[in-house]
């Protein structure tokens, strides 16, 4: 039996936007396991990003409980959540979010300077295949390269979990495959538990586990007997 990394009990999330109440999550019970590559699938507004944000310590649940290992995320204050993100979680977003005034190497160093047991920035960039672009500023890199810098930045602190919200959403198929390949290799080589949100159903075949969302709840969980590599994905 694989070890649970995350599990939740009856998580709900209600957004109040003006007079309207949006129920983003309606009592989700989920489990994610150590070392797995998990894909969250679902339409816009199905709640997958909300869950990811709560698991990543970026957002708070309205009710219910969520744990990272035996740490109860839903009981943590702001300071503890910051600490949690700093020590355990790596994030990758659709829009890279690099610091434009820092080079690729420096963007990674931003994290390694505050992490407990980081790898060298050069090593992290090598893992995403960017060892030749160390001293370039974001403005001098392509979209795919920028996203790979973002991944290098996320993994440089050797996080236990890597949470990716549509990491290929802004990329074409070629660069998208490069990014997914980088994520896949990190998952295999470092054993980092990886969660990816995507609209692209083709990516599900890369995953150990696929969780489908609909209307703020989990519509189904499936486990792939056989995974394919990033380069085999039909885009």
């Amino acid at each position: 039996m694989a070890t649970r990394v995350f599990h939740t009990e009856g998580i709900t999330k209600v957004y109040h936007t003006g007079a309207v109440e949006v129920h983003a999550l309606r009592g989700v019970n989920a489990e994610l396991f150590m070392g797995e590559f998990t894909v969250l699938l679902g339409a816009s507004g199905s709640g997958k990003s909300t869950l990811l944000n709560i698991l990543g310590g970026l957002d708070r649940a309205t009710s219910g409980r969520a744990w990272f290992r035996d740490m109860e995320l839903t009981a943590m204050n702001e300071r503890a959540l910051t600490r949690y993100r700093r020590d355990h979680v790596g994030f990758v977003f659709q829009f890279y979010n690099l610091v434009p005034s820092l080079t690729a190497r420096e963007n990674v160093a931003l994290v390694t300077e505050v992490a407990k047991n980081p790898m060298r920035p050069e090593e992290a960039l090598e893992r995403v295949g960017l060892d030749h672009r160390l001293d370039h500023f974001p403005a001098e890199l392509s979209g795919g390269e920028q996203q790979r810098v973002a991944i290098a930045r996320a993994i440089a602190k050797r996080p236990e979990v890597l949470l990716c919200d549509e990491p290929t959403g802004a990329l074409d198929s070629n660069t998208g495959v490069q990014v997914l390949d980088a994520l896949d290799r990190i998952n295999r080589e470092m054993g980092t538990t990886t969660v990816i949100i995507t609209h692209n159903a083709g990516i599900r075949k890369m995953a150990h586990r696929v969780i489908r969302f609909a209307d703020g709840n989990i519509a189904g969980v499936s486990v792939n007997e056989r995974r394919i590599g990033a380069r085999e994905i039909e885009w």
Binding site: D59, R79, R85, R86, V89, F95, N97, T103, F137, E140
Partner: protein, 787 residues
């Protein structure tokens, strides 16, 4: 309302805090304009009108005793329209309830009725009736200080004779709009009064029947002032003339001139600073707004709006902010004007000082203020016009950074990446960093320029009343006496020591330059009133030559070792050659000093004294005052303590007001600049900061990046500002410099520290407000939006 205008209103509402911060800076400029222009114009116009109406004279001269027969000769000088010969004397006042004797300047009223020049304006009662020797009118300030009304009375010692006088009226005189006792700088209405009495009474009391000792002239339009003065001097010379002077040297008018000069400087220096900072802030905020609304601009263009139309939309936003600033400035300016009118009411005695709230001043300040806002907007909006819709709707390329000199330096220091971000941001937008620094430094400079006056006046008081003048009181004789009179003075009750003082009006010549001043005679070893070098703090004995006050030396272009010529106004026109043996710095008047014996020798007489500087035994002060009130031959006694007190009180009042104003407007600038800079940085860097928060950076660490840059700029701005403040203070000191007084330039460390603290506190306060926004930043939504 058009949709775009609705957007405009919502933009202003959304940006209210930033708009208000900018508007407040602009308001400062408008306030100063309204207040300074208002004060300056009211003061000068009221003065001019009053002078016209009261026939304020153009030239004056005093003499020892000139015959009335001289008057037609004076009237015959070409350019003289009218002559008024009169008697003007000083007398000791004995006022019930006032322990120290007061001083009265008593001026004669012609027997024919009222003076024709320097006319009196009756505020209460009537003028004395000729022949009624016990009737007197007094100046309003003195009457107010003692709550005197017609019918009240007091005693005065006229040339040794004590007389009881009855007040018949309260008057204003254009010669005493600002009434200071002789030798003083500040009004002391409790101890100094000006009174007018019928000429016959004074002539009898001072043995001046058929004679006068003071003359004032009105000139015709286009008269040659210098020629008139020359002729008058020649005519009066045989009668002990002390040298004619014009309005520039007339004490009351000179103080008004000084006041006008200050306003003039204020209006020239301060508003431009406020307006430049306003333009800069508007430019910065609007530039950011336009960057944020790039896509909307593209959309509007795609919808068919013209570039100018959209540009005008943003200009209107600037106008809106400008309008708020103008209105705030108007309100502030209005209140400040009323405050100044009140202060003027205490200082200057005009019959009808109305603080003019001129619509033209308000209109002018509004148009200048709005222009500043539009100027700042213009630079930001230029881009809108040229932006093509297709480019506008595509996301902007990430800001380009380059590796430069900074990186080579940084490579050596190996700073943290967060520090690197700060340094690169400054390097990427050096102009903005420089302008921000300059803006903040202006606020520090203003505080220094406001506070230094207290330091300088403290220094002035210290030099004037502690180091130079150590006497407790000055006893002035009615006429020059031989030095042996000092023995009599020492025998007065309570007098512990007495030293003589003498001065003679003279004209100094050096090459083509000349100056009429009074030369003071000095005895070596005089300890009570010293001639003191203000800077090096050593005494400068005149030796065989003459010591000049530094400003006088500059006027004459004379240096130590130069030979100048001295002509005594009360003697013949012989010019004596004297060598300049030193210069000193005093802050009151333009003086020159010679050895007492040498001075007497040049004047071909025995050494004389006009006054005695005395040390007093405080416990016997009352006895002394009684003795002086009844002593013939003593014209007055001036207590240094009173001089100092009136100086202190007056200074404290006006210094406190200006320090408060300077500190407040300076803080407004600091807050305006720092708050807007921080908000714009926050807006530009929201994503960056949010990603760092997501990476696990704490709020403190993230705030460091945003506020670190600002604090770095503030840290650079403070020393720069203190230096600029020193420059502003030096400029102010130079502009105050007049024949009447000068102010030392002294800025204490406390002032610098205080200025630095005010700026640091204002900066920290605005930074904290922005810091709270970082704390409340919604990480998820920031990350989801495309820049």
């Amino acid at each position: 309302m058009r949709a775009l205008d609705r957007k405009l209103l919502r933009d202003i509402r959304r940006l209210w805090a930033q708009s208000l911060a900018i508007a407040a800076v602009l308001a400062g400029g408008v306030l100063v304009m309204v207040m300074s222009y208002g004060a300056q114009r009211s003061l000068s116009q009221t003065r001019d009108a009053y002078y016209e109406r009261a026939r304020f004279a153009h030239v004056w001269s005093e003499a020892a005793r000139a015959p009335q027969t001289l008057v037609p000769e004076i009237a015959a000088i070409p350019g003289v329209a009218e002559v008024e010969a009169r008697i003007s004397e000083f007398a000791v006042l004995d006022i019930p309830g006032l322990e120290a004797p007061g001083l009265a300047q008593i001026v004669s009223i012609p027997e024919s009725g009222a003076p024709r020049l320097n006319r009196l304006i009756l505020r209460e009662g009537r003028l004395p009736v000729p022949g009624h020797g016990d009737e007197v009118v007094v100046n309003e300030a003195f009457a107010l200080a003692h709550d005197y009304h017609p019918g009240d009375g007091f005693s005065v010692t006229l040339n040794g004779q004590k007389r009881a006088l009855t007040i018949t009226g309260i008057v204003l005189s254009p010669e005493f709009i600002y009434s200071v006792p002789p030798g003083g700088m500040m009004p002391d209405d409790l101890h100094f009064g000006v009174m007018w009495m019928p000429e016959a009474t004074l002539a009898a009391a001072f043995n001046l029947s058929g004679a006068f000792n003071s003359v004032s002239l009105a000139l015709t339009r286009g008269a040659n002032l210098e020629q008139v003065k020359d002729r008058l001097e020649t005519l009066l010379k045989p009668y002990g003339g002390t040298g004619p002077y014009d309005r520039k040297a007339q004490t009351s008018n000179a103080f008004l001139d000084g006041e006008l000069k200050q306003w003039d400087m204020m209006v020239k220096v301060l508003p431009p600073i406020f307006l430049a900072i306003t333009a800069f802030l508007v430019n910065m905020v609007l530039g950011r707004l336009i960057a944020l609304e790039r896509e909307q601009i593209g959309l509007l263009k795609a919808l068919g709006y013209g570039g100018l139309e959209i540009a005008w939309h943003y200009m209107k936003l600037a106008l809106g902010i400008g309008a708020i600033g103008v209105v705030l400035g108007w309100v502030g300016g209005y209140w400040a004007s009323i405050g100044i009118a009140k202060v003027y009411g205490d200082f200057f005695h005009f019959p009808y000082l109305v603080f003019l709230q001129r619509p033209s001043i308000y209109a002018l300040s509004a148009s200048i203020g709005l222009s500043a806002a539009l100027l700042g907007a213009g630079f930001a909006v230029r881009r809108v016009v040229t932006l093509s819709p297709a480019v506008a709707m595509a996301p902007p390329a990430p800001t380009r950074f380059r590796r430069g000199l900074l990186d080579r330096v940084a490579a050596l220091l190996r700073p943290r990446q967060t520090t690197m971000m700060i340094l690169r941001s400054i390097g990427r937008w050096p102009l903005r960093a420089a302008m921000t620094t300059l803006g903040i430094s202006m606020s520090a400079a203003m505080i220094v320029a406001g506070l230094f006056m207290i330091d300088s006046f403290d220094e002035l008081l210290d030099v004037a009343f502690v180091q130079v003048n150590r006497q407790d009181a000055v006893i002035t004789f009615a006429a020059p006496r031989l030095e042996t009179v000092l023995d009599d003075v020492e025998n007065l009750p309570g007098v512990m020591a007495a030293e003589g003082g003498f001065s003679a009006p003279a004209r100094l010549y050096h090459g083509p330059r000349s100056r009429t001043i009074a030369i003071e005679g000095r005895r070596d070893g005089a300890r009570l009133a010293r001639v003191f070098d203000g800077e090096r703090r050593v005494e400068v004995p005149p030796g065989d030559g003459i010591v000049l006050e530094a400003r006088l030396a500059r006027h004459l272009d004379a240096r130590v070792g130069d030979v100048i010529e001295v002509e005594f106004l009360q003697r013949d026109s012989t010019r004596h050659k004297v060598v300049v043996t030193g210069t000193v710095q005093t802050f009151f008047g333009l003086g020159a000093y010679m050895g007492q014996d040498r001075l007497a020798a040049l004047m071909q007489g025995a050494p004389q004294v006009l006054l005695a500087n005395v040390m007093i035994d405080e416990s016997r002060q009352g006895e002394l005052f009684e003795a002086i009130k009844n002593a013939p031959g003593i014209a007055r006694i001036t207590l240094m303590e009173n001089v100092r007190k009136s100086f202190d009180a007056t200074m404290a009042e006006s210094a406190n007001i200006s320090v408060a104003i300077f500190s407040i407007v300076a803080s407004v600038i600091a807050v305006g600049v720092v708050y807007n800079s921080a908000r714009i940085q926050l807006s530009e860097r929201a994503r960056e900061l949010a990603s760092l928060r997501i990476l696990g950076f704490t709020r403190g660490e993230v705030s460091y990046i945003l506020l670190g840059e600002l604090f770095l700029l503030v840290a650079a701005a403070i020393p720069l500002g203190l230096w600029l403040g020193h420059g502003m203070a030096a400029g102010m000191v130079a502009s105050f410099d007049s024949d009447l007084y000068s102010i030392p330039l002294l800025i204490t460390r406390e002032t610098y520290i205080r200025a630095a603290l005010v700026v640091a506190a204002a900066s920290a306060g605005s930074a904290l407000i922005v810091r709270r926004r970082i704390d409340r930043m919604d990480l998820v939504s920031v990350m989801k939006t495309r820049e």
